[in-house]
Amino acid sequence: MDFTLSDEQRLLKDSVDRLMADRYAFEQRKNHVKEPGGWSTALWSQYAELGLLGLPFAEEYGGFGGGAVEIMLVMEAFGRALILEPFLATVVLGGTAVRLGGTDAQKSRILPAIADGSMKLAFAHGERQARYDVTDVMTTARQSGGGWMLDGAKSVVTHGDCAETLVVSARTSGERDDADGITLFLVDAGASGVARRGYTMRDEQRAAELSLSGVRVGQDAVLGEVGKGLPLVERVIEAGIAATAAESVGAMEAVHAMTLEYSRTREQFGRTIGSNQVVQHRLAEMLMSLEQGRSMAMLAAMMVDEPDAAERAHNIAMAKVGIGQAGRFVSQNAVQLHGGIGMTGELAVGHYFRRCMVIERLFGDTAHYLGRLAADVA
């Protein structure tokens, strides 16, 4: 057991923190939101230059061979800064799908392009009727003329509006809810038959509704094994949970710090609100939730590469529940302790609150994963 960071890891952390400090102050962020895509293309290039976009990929694919801990450190920093760029969608979700499921050819084609910032990915798995049910895939892919034809729709695809390449799950056999028969495809976002509607989420991040009608792809578009895509989908989701857990920790750190600071300066009835014992204990309870949440984010990072699938899924479900509850408690109370001003878009606190709210509902919410754990009880 060892919680120390290697020199490389400390170096990575410092460089990302420095970039965020220089370019992602809350006032600067307001300008990033206003950019056409809703995020900063300039920073995207900076991430590429820093090597962040290739972080988890092997050197041979232009990456840095980083692991779950490196992703955790970066996502924590991103969480503190509330970044808007499609790092999760491209590097974590899409990147994991290709890294774990791709052929050498696919990896050579895509991973270097992610790493140098020239290609963005999105993970198009969720469907509107499915809510959080991971096997509820009704989008179909049928063999046609040596390739495949995809029909269906995907919903709330994170950063699905800007991605050049979509990782799309489709049913190649079986019925709705069947674990078997799901296959992942690499789909060019510009392909004919692909339509997208981009929009803003409650946390100011972008997402898209996606429709596929008669979209043709070749055999080389199949990612992983035909009909056996579910385990790969689960690995991608687990990577996403681990990454957003760390992001949530960063957000909790930041919002706790600013609430603490606010309680030191804000005066009411002739004294700082932080001199109220009730406020002090609330901040102490928020701190405890933050630390318990941090522990869970560490657990997720440690488990994301665990070979035993059941063990991995169970522990990551625990982390998801713990992070969801911690993020909700900390961010709701941050708003409460700020009072009216916390309810406006003018302070950062309301933005952290909404990011924690969205993260709790990415890949399934707390109740969904607690239900899974309840089913596991033995």
């Binding site: 969720g126 509107r128 009727q129 499915a130 809510r131 959080y132 049910d133 509820d136 729709a153 919903s155 709330v156 809810d177 339509a195 997208r196 509607r197 929009y199 803003t200 989420m201 409650r202 946390d203 997402a207 509704e209 996606l210 429709s211 005066e267 009411q268 009835f269 109220n276 009730v278 406020v279 709701q332 708003v335 409460q336 009072g339 009216g340 916390g342 309810m343 406006t344 878009g345 003018e346 309301g350 609150f353 909404r354 709210m357 969205v358 509902r361 990415l362 919410d365 109740a367 969904h368 607690l370 239900g371 309840a374």
Partner: protein
């Protein structure tokens, strides 16, 4: 002792229910059923319909157009109106400025303002809070200097909800900066929002809605006849207004409506391959909320029925319980509705719905609106005295610690 409604009360409830069913415009009801907040025109239209029936000025004496209801009847009306769901009456007009004028106003002020307030011909807003004041109202700084038969008002108000809709604003101003106690030297003025020197700047809430405002007063001239009660005695008026009847403070009908809507929607979405409504954890969560709502309902009965008996002016300290538990339920039930929508609750469809487009369609409106009211009602435990302040009140008023 009997918790059940009397036959008369039941008959009254049916009458109210029937009237709302028959007279609430379908388009308004549908928007509200989807979780949209009432627009200005919705509130105006509905309040005028109610006023025509004599039900708008629900707590006012008959001579000023009140229906002469008991507070139990008022409670029944408010809940039926929320459950419908229908737009709520303008509380600024009906439960704030109306009673204030009836208690403190001159005959002229009553004649001039009350009928228009009841019919929402004038939309009123409240100019109390100031930057840095928050729950500490008495620290207000907005100054009014006497100049002949006018006051000249300078200063800033904040959290002024619907100021951008308002025709009139009742404002607390400091007319004597040298008063011994902060509460002294405050006066209560009625300000025409069209008066030169008033600037309204919007504050966008975290749900994206424009509900709150900053209001700036720059040499705004207010006729002296628009002062309510004596100069420098405005705090008495404010105390009366804030301590005034708090029936409906729990907004229980709104919570009930959110649970009903959540259960309806839970039949249309799934969890683990079954309709969410069949999910054991979801049912437990709903059951717990229904228990808490039932307890609050009866506590509210107790407070309200006591209110008619002992009208000693000062509000029942238990109304702090209604405020705390009521807002906890508002937040829990709006969170429930948002959770039913799941991932579909996270997008903001507003622009998408407005725009004509051949792009893929958008998810259910009720889901995105559910999140809107969840976000908006995070303020419920803040406004009207934070829930922490309410517990301070209970500590002093009831525990006497």
């Amino acid at each position: 002792m009997d918790l059940r409604f009397t036959p008369e009360e039941l008959a009254f409830r049916d009458e109210v229910r029937a009237f709302i069913r028959d007279n609430l415009p379908a388009e308004i009801r549908e928007r509200m059923r989807l979780g949209y907040g009432a627009r200005k025109q919705d509130t105006v239209a509905w309040q005028r319909i109610l006023n025509k029936r004599g039900w708008a000025a629900l707590s006012w004496p008959k001579e000023w157009g009140g229906p002469g209801w008991s507070s139990v009847q008022r409670m029944i009306f408010l809940e039926e109106n929320q459950v419908a769901p229908a737009p709520e009456l303008s509380s600024f007009n009906i439960t704030m400025i109306g009673p204030v004028l009836i208690q403190f106003g001159t005959e002229e002020q009553k004649k001039k303002f009350l009928p228009r307030a009841a019919n929402l011909d004038d939309w009123w807003c409240q100019g109390f809070s100031e930057p840095g004041a928050g729950s500490d109202l008495a620290s207000l700084k907005t100054a009014a200097k006497r100049d002949g038969d006018h006051y000249v008002v300078n200063g800033q108000k904040i959290w002024t909800s619907t100021a951008h809709h308002a025709d009139w604003c009742f404002v607390l101003v400091r007319t004597n900066p040298n008063a011994a106690k902060r509460q002294e030297g405050i006066s209560f003025l009625l300000v025409d929002m069209k008066t030169p020197g008033i600037t309204v700047r919007p504050i966008i809430s975290i749900d994206g809605s424009h509900h709150l405002n900053e209001v700036f007063f720059d040499d705004v001239r207010v006729p002296v006849e628009n002062r309510v009660y004596e100069e420098n005695r405005g705090w008495d008026v404010a105390k009366f207004l804030l301590g005034n009847e708090r029936t409906g403070i729990a907004r229980l009908g709104k919570s009930k409506e959110r649970v009903t809507a959540s259960k309806e929607m839970a039949r249309t979405v799934r969890e683990n391959g079954k309709p969410l409504i069949e999910d054991a954890a979801f049912r437990q969560r709903v059951a717990q909320l229904e228990v808490d709502m039932k307890a609050l309902e009866i506590t509210q009965y107790r407070v309200v029925s006591a209110y008619d008996r002992a009208r000693d002016g000062r509000p029942d300290p238990l109304s702090s319980v209604l405020k705390v538990k009521g807002t906890e339920l508002l937040q829990a039930t709006t969170e429930l509705a948002m959770d039913v929508g799941g991932p579909m609750s996270m997008p903001i469809w507003a622009e998408e719905l407005a725009a004509l487009s051949n792009d893929p369609d958008v998810g259910p409106e009720w889901a995105t609106q559910a999140t809107g009211s969840y976000l908006f009602l995070r303020a419920a435990s803040i406004y009207g005295g934070t829930n922490e302040i309410q517990k301070n009140i209970l500590t002093k008023a009831v525990l006497r610690l």
